[in-house]
Amino acid sequence: MTMSLALDALLSPPEQQAFHQHLASCAQCRSRWLTWQQLDRMLMAAPLVGPAPGFVARVDQRLRRRQASRERLLGGLVLIGGTLLVWTLVVLSAAVAVALWLATNPTAQLHLAELLGFVGQLVALAVGNLLALRSGLAASAAAPLVTLFLSVLLVALAFLWLRLIPPRQTPSNS
């Protein structure tokens, strides 16, 4: 590293003296020192290179484009956020209104209980069918015809079950 520091004139006087004494006695280092000096002169001679004319305008144009792009992005986010907020308020308002309506109307509560029961039955039916189908497929993976038969049977059973559900009874208001 001494040679590099010597080139930048950063050696102390004793270090510099020792460096030059070494150069006088070492042909290899002397040769390298000459190359380094040549390199130093070449680097010193190289000019500063500037951009083509109009650089400031090109930067400004790019800056303007980037700012416009950010503004568009920000506008889009505000729009999406606003829309979500409005819809959240609408859904919450509707939920509150339904809850209030149910709380003050016993007949509506009966309708709701019946509806929830029906939905529960449908969900249970669907889950049961899917589980049965999965088991059937696992058991008869090697027999495609059996799998097809079981699938058709399950669909038919599901259809019959839905048809056999007793019709809903409308509660009398009297």
């Binding site: 590293m1 010597a6 002169r41 000019p47 290179v49 500037g50 951009p51 930067v59």
Partner: protein, 212 residues
């Protein structure tokens, strides 16, 4: 660390004034572009990197600390950006044919032969720099083209002075080896390297001590 005009431009730019930022771009376009060109080795990449440096500077102006020179802050952004680009394109062929310094070098009063010689030397030099590892290019460029102290270069690169000394030494070692390996180069050509008429950018005393 900033003069009055620069301080006013900076304050205005911080408020989003693009015209004021344009003054800063005008003032520092050459040093930033030159650094990008010397590190990346071609004009197209240098133009893009220099532009990107100023865009980054504009968006990060609020992070600028006045205890650092504004020019050094810009050079720091530029050098990190260029090193990132170099690492991403390790195996891209670097051409020195589009060297804009060739045009720059051919002054009106210069003889065509001398201009051609200097242009050729500029090409050779850039070709040598292009072959250096990215982390070795920056200290060489900042040392020779900007006349910065070791402390300032270390600050710009975000490394210690000891690490900088080591990198600069290794960079010079590699460059010297490449120079020696070139056909027809070596000490015999020392006489052909003309002592330049220095621009004001560099004024340091060169330690070309005579051999004992």
């Amino acid at each position: 660390m900033v003069d009055h005009n620069e301080s006013a431009w900076l304050e205005a730019a911080l408020r989003g004034d693009r015209n004021a930022f344009g003054k800063l771009v005008q003032a520092y376009q050459v040093p930033v572009y030159n650094l990008a060109y010397r590190l990346l080795g071609n004009a197209a990449d240098a133009e893009d990197a220099a532009q990107e440096t100023f865009l980054k500077a504009f968006s990060r102006l609020h992070t600028y600390q006045p205890d650092m020179k504004f020019s050094n802050w810009l050079l720091s952004i530029a050098s990190h950006h260029c090193i990132d680009r170099l690492r991403r394109r390790r195996f891209v062929w670097l051409s020195v044919e589009d060297d804009p310094s060739v045009e720059w070098l051919t002054g009106d009063g210069e003889q065509p032969d001398a201009a051609a010689l200097r242009a050729e030397q500029a090409r050779e030099l850039q070709a040598l720099i292009n072959r250096l590892e990215p982390e070795y290019r920056t200290p060489v460029v900042l040392r020779y083209w900007y006349d910065l102290s070791y402390k300032e270069i270390a600050e710009i690169m975000g490394i210690t002075e000891a690490a900088l000394k080591s990198r600069l030494h290794r960079a010079r070692l590699q460059l010297a080896e490449m120079l020696e390996a070139q056909p027809g180069e070596g000490h015999a050509t020392t006489a052909t390297v003309k002592e330049p008429s220095r621009s004001p950018r560099v004024s340091r005393a060169i330690a070309h001590a005579p051999l004992a």
